[in-house]
């Protein structure tokens, strides 16, 4: 299994598509970080200035791109080896199926999750450099929320792993990611049901409860409640672990009995 992971890491480092994906992701993050500056967010009147901390409170809209990029990374790590029959040769040369599966799945989940978090972090850093941090929320709050996104990201990536092992074709996984996000958007998943889907959980983690105060001369101020409540944290952890285990188990079972055709 160690050798497969090493081989995968080598392959990832050499794969041109993944380099392009990384480059595309980085460019997109910088663009997202800069777009408000280019729109004049830093030139507004006092009280209306848009800063990186403001951006953090509404960055969940941008996770649609992050999820798509993660699906591409997972698809290439898990499904690309079916195209050139590398996976078949691995099995024929005596590698156990579960080793072949978990080496790819584990690596894909870790790398894609890191990639997703780095994408969000990169856009926040770019925004900070362009417009300053501001005082809407603290750095610690933003960091805590960002770290918590690792759980729904992992869950989502496990789902993509399952899809990659079912379809065995890289291009189907990003298509599925797009369809899943669209369906979740259309269904307006919320409340207690948020935790049934990874996209819903992700939205929940990045949702900042807020309230307003205002004056007649000073306009309104939005006050965000920094930390997610303990119920959200607990349900995020429990639901993510449950679905990570479920998706990986289903994927492993399917791969175990697969004729690799």
């Amino acid at each position: 299994m160690k050798n497969i992971i090493k081989a995968q890491l080598y392959q990832i480092s050499k794969m041109r598509v993944l380099r392009l994906v990384a480059l595309g992701g980085a460019s997109l993050c910088i663009l997202i970080g800069l777009v408000e500056k280019l729109n004049g967010a830093d030139a507004l009147d006092e009280g209306y200035l848009m800063t990186a901390s403001d951006y953090c409170t509404r960055c969940r809209g941008n996770t649609i791109f992050v999820v798509l990029f993660m699906s591409i990374v997972t698809a290439f790590i898990c499904a690309d080896d079916f195209a050139d029959k590398t996976a078949n040769h691995e099995i024929l040369s005596g590698t156990l199926r579960w080793q072949s599966y978990f080496a790819r799945a584990g690596l894909a989940v870790v790398i894609s999750t890191l990639f997703g978090q780095l994408m969000i972090a990169a856009s926040v850093v770019t925004y900070t450099l362009a417009c300053g941090w501001g005082d809407t929320i603290t750095v610690g709050t933003a960091l805590a929320r960002l770290l918590l996104t690792a759980l729904p990201f992992m869950r989502l990536n496990c789902f993509f792993v399952l899809a990659a092992f079912i379809f065995k074709k890289t291009f189907w996984v990003p298509i599925l990611a797009f369809v899943a996000q669209t369906v979740c958007g259309l269904l307006k998943v919320g409340g207690r049901s948020s935790y049934l889907t990874s996209i819903g959980t992700l939205n929940r983690v990045l949702h900042f409860e807020k309230w307003y105060t205002f004056g007649l001369r000073n306009g309104s101020r939005i006050i965000y409640e920094h930390a997610p409540d303990s119920r959200t944290v607990m349900l995020t952890i429990v639901s993510s672990i449950f679905f990570v285990v479920l998706y990986l188990a289903i994927g492993c079972s399917l791969y175990h009995g697969d004729d690799l055709n």
């Binding site: 079912i166 269904l187 889907t197 105060t213 004056g215 007649l216 399917l254």
Partner: protein, 548 residues
């Protein structure tokens, strides 16, 4: 049942039957792809549950969809057959459970209350000034919400919220729910209709109003003095009505005006009434319920006393040769005024209309803001600018918001730190001879409280009403809960000295008043209920003509 739950149950049955067929078929045509079939129910189940909302009554259906996964992990005919049959049974079981359980799509009112109460406690801006005892309030109302949760009673939940909100003596603290729920709760709380409403006259006597024709033969008509209701003075009998505790008043004078109004719904199927007949003799009678809810009669009476001129919002109506009425039903005008606080269209239209009316001989304007539900403070500013005499005038003072502590700053003398006065320049479009009368009622709330306060400071304005305006003028926010929507005062508005603008403290005396409090007497009762006249409007016209 919810459509997504029905879909889930229907698909669950289809998948279960399909699972059995696939189990047999997979024995004949061997392929690992058959296993994917047993994954589909799980994914379908997740989508349906996410879309329709997770519900505990559907739990057997969810388990059924998960059990079908056994066919994926163990691709054997026997396992697949057993799991499919089990899944079918479990999925079908969800149907009667949902249909007959009182907990289907159930809202936990206790949790909902805890959430709303915590937010209210954290963000209610007049907490100190009104000396709200949060612990006491929580302990008093929690059992009510617990009971509503146990009985899954939406109306009881609404009643509990409304009664708790009324304790703040702030009309900005209120709870709204579905129309049906509100109707049910109000009907239940207000009691039975016995054919009359009891109102208190300015001299303290309590009389029948909005009287049903069936009572006339018994000697009770509009204006008949009612001595007691079920052995109690009407103001005491009020306290037997649940609806009495649902009506909020910020000002004690307004509360006193409505003494007795809640009494005539109390009692069971009959009520013992003592009244003075037309010959001046005291009579006792037992009234039977008319089998209708009292709330309808109460609201009809209330509307007759309080509602404004029946005219379009922001429209001018010529009342006589020299007077016109501007009816303002809310402090919103168009999408630009509502969304961008751009009131230029409204201002231009009012200016043009007034100038046109002046050319037609109109000298005085009655601004009718009775039952005005409030809205934008900026709109108030723009209206005041039009009618105020030329020169600088003061409106209100913004409170200083401390970004560090995320709160307003209360100083040692009990006042708040201010952050600049709001001033405006008068245009005096009506001219020096023009006079303005402002008509208000106890439901002239929020921004209409502001308008009353601002115009009341001007020499050319007279404020007239049976009662004062509501006395609730802080900026408010909304909070969405599972069972409804709560609003509360969240933004401070101050006087120049840093004291609270308009809203009352523990004394229930608001900072808003009227120049002329019109007596609610026998003449008023007769004009309103017998003649169907707008007594307050007629009074204003008479006032203008007498002071010409």
């Amino acid at each position: 049942m919810e459509k997504f739950d029905i879909t889930l149950i229907a698909l669950g049955i289809v998948f279960s039957i399909g699972g059995m067929i696939t189990a047999v078929h997979a024995e004949k045509i061997r392929s690992c792809k058959w296993r994917l079939y047993y994954l589909a129910p799980l994914l379908t189940g997740i989508i349906c549950a996410a879309a329709g909302g997770f519900d505990i009554c559907m739990i057997s259906a969810y388990i059924g969809m998960i059990i079908l996964l056994a066919g994926l992990f163990k691709p054997e005919k026997k396992v697949r057959m057993i799991s499919s049959v089990t899944a079918a049974v479990l999925v079908i079981t969800a149907l009667p459970v949902c249909m007959f359980s009182g907990k289907y799509h159930y809202i936990n009112y206790e949790q909902d209350f805890e959430k709303g109460f915590a937010k209210l406690k954290a963000h209610y801006v007049l907490s100190e000034d009104k000396e709200i005892n949060w612990e006491e309030l929580h302990d008093k109302y929690l059992p009510r919400f617990r009971s509503a949760a146990t009985n899954n009673d939406a109306a009881e939940n609404y009643t509990a919220w409304t009664q708790m909100c009324a304790q703040f003596n702030d009309l900005h603290v209120c709870f709204s729910a579905d129309e049906e729920v509100v109707k049910e709760a109000e009907e239940k709380a207000a009691g039975n209709d016995f054919g009359l409403v009891i109102a208190t006259l300015s001299d303290g006597r309590t009389v029948a109003i909005q009287t049903d024709d069936t009572l006339k033969s018994k000697g009770i008509h509009d204006g008949t003095e009612i001595i007691s209701w079920n052995g109690k003075k009407p103001s005491e009998a009020d306290k037997d009505s649940d609806y009495y505790y649902m009506k909020p008043f910020a000002d004690i004078d307004n509360k006193r005006f409505y003494e007795g109004w809640f009494a005539a719904g109390t009692g069971g199927d009959t009520a013992e009434v003592v009244y003075i007949d037309d010959d001046g003799n005291e009579q006792a009678i037992t009234l039977s319920s008319l089998g209708r809810p009292y709330i309808d009669r109460y609201k009809d009476a209330y509307n007759k006393v309080s509602d404004g001129l029946e005219a379009g919002h922001m429209s001018f109506t010529k009342l006589n040769d020299t007077t016109a009425c501007l009816r303002i039903k809310m402090m919103k005008y168009d999408s630009a005024s509502e969304n961008k606080d751009d009131h230029s269209n409204m201002k231009n239209e009012i200016r043009d209309s007034v100038l046109q009316l002046k050319e037609e001989g109109i000298k005085d304007i009655i601004i009718d803001i009775r039952c005005n539900s409030g809205g934008s403070g900026d709109m108030v500013l723009n209206i005041a600018e039009l009618f105020a005499p030329e020169g600088e005038h003061y409106y209100v003072t913004d409170a200083y918001w401390d970004k560090e502590t995320q709160s307003y700053v209360k100083q040692q003398d009990g006042t708040y730190k201010t952050d600049g006065d709001i001033m405006y320049s008068g245009e005096n479009i009506l001219g020096d001879d023009g006079r303005i009368v402002l008509l208000v009622c106890d439901q002239s709330v929020s921004a209409s409280d502001h308008l009353t306060h601002v115009l009341n400071d001007l020499d050319n304005v007279t404020v007239i009403g049976f009662t004062e305006p509501s006395g609730s003028a802080q900026g408010c926010s909304m909070l969405s809960l599972e069972s409804g929507m709560m609003t509360y005062s969240s933004s401070l508005m101050l006087n120049r000295d840093g004291s609270i603008f308009i809203d009352s403290g523990t004394d229930m005396q608001s900072g808003n008043g009227v120049d002329i409090k019109v007596p609610f007497d026998e003449k008023a009762v007769n004009e309103i209920f017998a003649e169907n006249n707008d007594y307050l409007m007629d009074y204003a016209l008479e006032y203008l003509s007498n002071t010409d």
